[in-house]
Amino acid sequence: MIKNILNLGDAALYCDFGSDVNQEINSNVIKYFYHIKKLNLKGITNLTPSYNKLIISYDLNIHSFLSLKKKIENIEIKENNKLEKNLIEIPVCCDNVFALDIERVENKLKLKSEIILEKFFSKNYFCYMTGFVAGMPFLGDLDQEMRLKRIETPRVKVPKGSVGITEQFCNIYSFETPGGWNILGNTPQNIFDSSNQSNPNLVNPGDTIKFYRITLDQYNEIKR
């Protein structure tokens, strides 16, 4: 049952699952997301899961806030339906041409680049959500000593494929877009494929990501 439902404007429910960011709360969001998606309710035009919120957009010609809120509030997920979790391995090249912010990260974290990258590649990451631009995954969590803020002035263009970190999270830029994350490398792998209309995202909420390091030669080989 979702207890805390507000409105976001006049055509969306704002389901609040808490203020913390952790995998337990997020897994609950994702569970409701998949459940409601499967119900295929008439007049629901979008579902947007994030760390601890689920936004449900609806067609104002079909629903009003109060009637839809009642319907969503009463949804119970009975069985402990386990999330489908895939493990996805993604190659990343951290050659100087791609590691745009490695010096800044070294200075801020007071760690040598080799240590930073060793720590980065030693963990598996959980996908909390995808979005902002098509296919971009928000992954976590980085170790405490790996956490830093965004760069002060966001880049107007972050190259496609860039792998960045900020706070407890890392992400992959599925498109060239403005952005402020600290870039450690670049993946040659396509993160979003619009020709695959049934599943265009390489990574989906609930999946686990394992990054592995490749050389520039290997990068160019995969690109080719």
Partner: protein, 318 residues
């Protein structure tokens, strides 16, 4: 199809941000794909009604300046909606066209869409169907994610626009409609309204904001009194919807429009009501806007009234 049977427009000048649009695509926010679709849904709807096309038929949307098109094929009608200046160039001469009125085009005729007047978006279509590909049930071009026909790119010079079907039983129709403008943009307070100081909350509703040039299909950036955040300039990133007004770290409002990023981490001060969205997007850079606070119940009623008004306008098509 033999080339002599083809019906198509050749683009002599592409205009600005010229794309195919329809009602957009649903249920893809969770992978990062926004609704897209025609920015001004009323003018989209009026155009398809005037041309007796299906309600979700593709149209060509342009901003500020439209395309210059040369037609090749059998006789066809076209129509333009929005507040638009355009010329029709035929062998007999050149005439000025009126929006919301259908015109006949013969092989070799041209339509030169100069500009939108005191507005941003205009729409062009024909009594028939453009040959477009569908992506997730929509032909809307989202240039940011490169989704849609024409490889997800806006139109360019020399591109040819195919017409795959012409409605031969079509009768010319018109509508006397001057468009609808708006003075205040009505909003519902946002989920982070209490992140802002009381004096900033007052300023948000009392003072006016100017629309800057940094406005496009993704968002509209405003300039005015700085809105002071007293809690945290960021929130944990969460879903956005069309019309959400976020306040950036610099204290400036930015309104999410149809191609917006699906999640964001700036606090939400308010959301534009659905009834005012079509008229909001038509406001040009340099215009001043004021926000007015309404309740959720009022917003729902105002939307119903707006839809009734649209249907009423459609019923006046002759």
């Amino acid at each position: 199809m033999k080339s002599k049977d083809r019906n198509y427009f050749k683009i002599l000048r592409a205009g600005i941000n010229t794309t195919y649009q329809d009602l957009g695509r649903n249920n893809l926010y969770h992978i990062g794909i926004p609704f897209s679709g025609a920015m001004d849904k009323r003018n989209f709807q009026l155009l398809n009604s005037l041309l007796q096309n299906d309600y979700n038929s593709p149209v060509i949307e342009f901003a500020y300046q439209g395309p210059h098109l040369k037609y090749f094929g059998k006789d066809i009608f076209f129509c333009i909606s929005g507040n638009v200046s355009f010329k029709i160039i035929t062998k007999e001469g050149v005439i000025d066209g009126n929006s919301y009125q259908c015109y006949l085009l013969k092989n070799g005729d041209e339509v030169d869409i100069h500009s939108t007047n005191k507005s941003v978006y205009g729409y062009f279509s024909i009594n028939g169907t453009f040959g477009v590909d569908y992506y997730w049930g929509s032909c809307s071009i989202n240039t940011q994610a490169q989704i849609g026909p024409n490889n997800g790119n806006k139109f360019s010079k020399d591109l040819e626009i195919e017409i795959i079907d012409i409605n031969n039983s079509f009768n010319k129709r018109k509508l006397d409609y001057l468009g609808s403008t708006i003075e205040n943009i009505r909003v519902i307070k946002g989920t982070n309204y209490d992140y802002f100081s009381e004096s900033s909350q007052n300023k948000f509703f009392k003072e006016s904001f100017k629309i800057t040039k940094l406005s496009d299909r993704m968002g509209m950036r405003l300039e005015g009194p700085k809105i002071e955040n007293i809690v945290d300039p960021n929130i944990k990133s969460e879903g956005l919807v069309k019309g959400v007004i976020q306040i950036t770290s610099a204290g400036d409002p930015i309104i999410m429009l149809s191609d917006h990023g699906t999640i964001g981490g700036y606090p939400k001060i308010a959301t534009v009501i659905s009834a005012d969205y079509d008229r909001l997007v038509q406001l040009t850079p340099g215009s001043n806007i004021k926000f007015k606070d309404v309740s959720l119940e009022d917003a729902e009623t105002l939307y119903k009234l707006y839809q009734m008004e649209t249907n009423n306008i459609i019923s006046q098509i002759k």
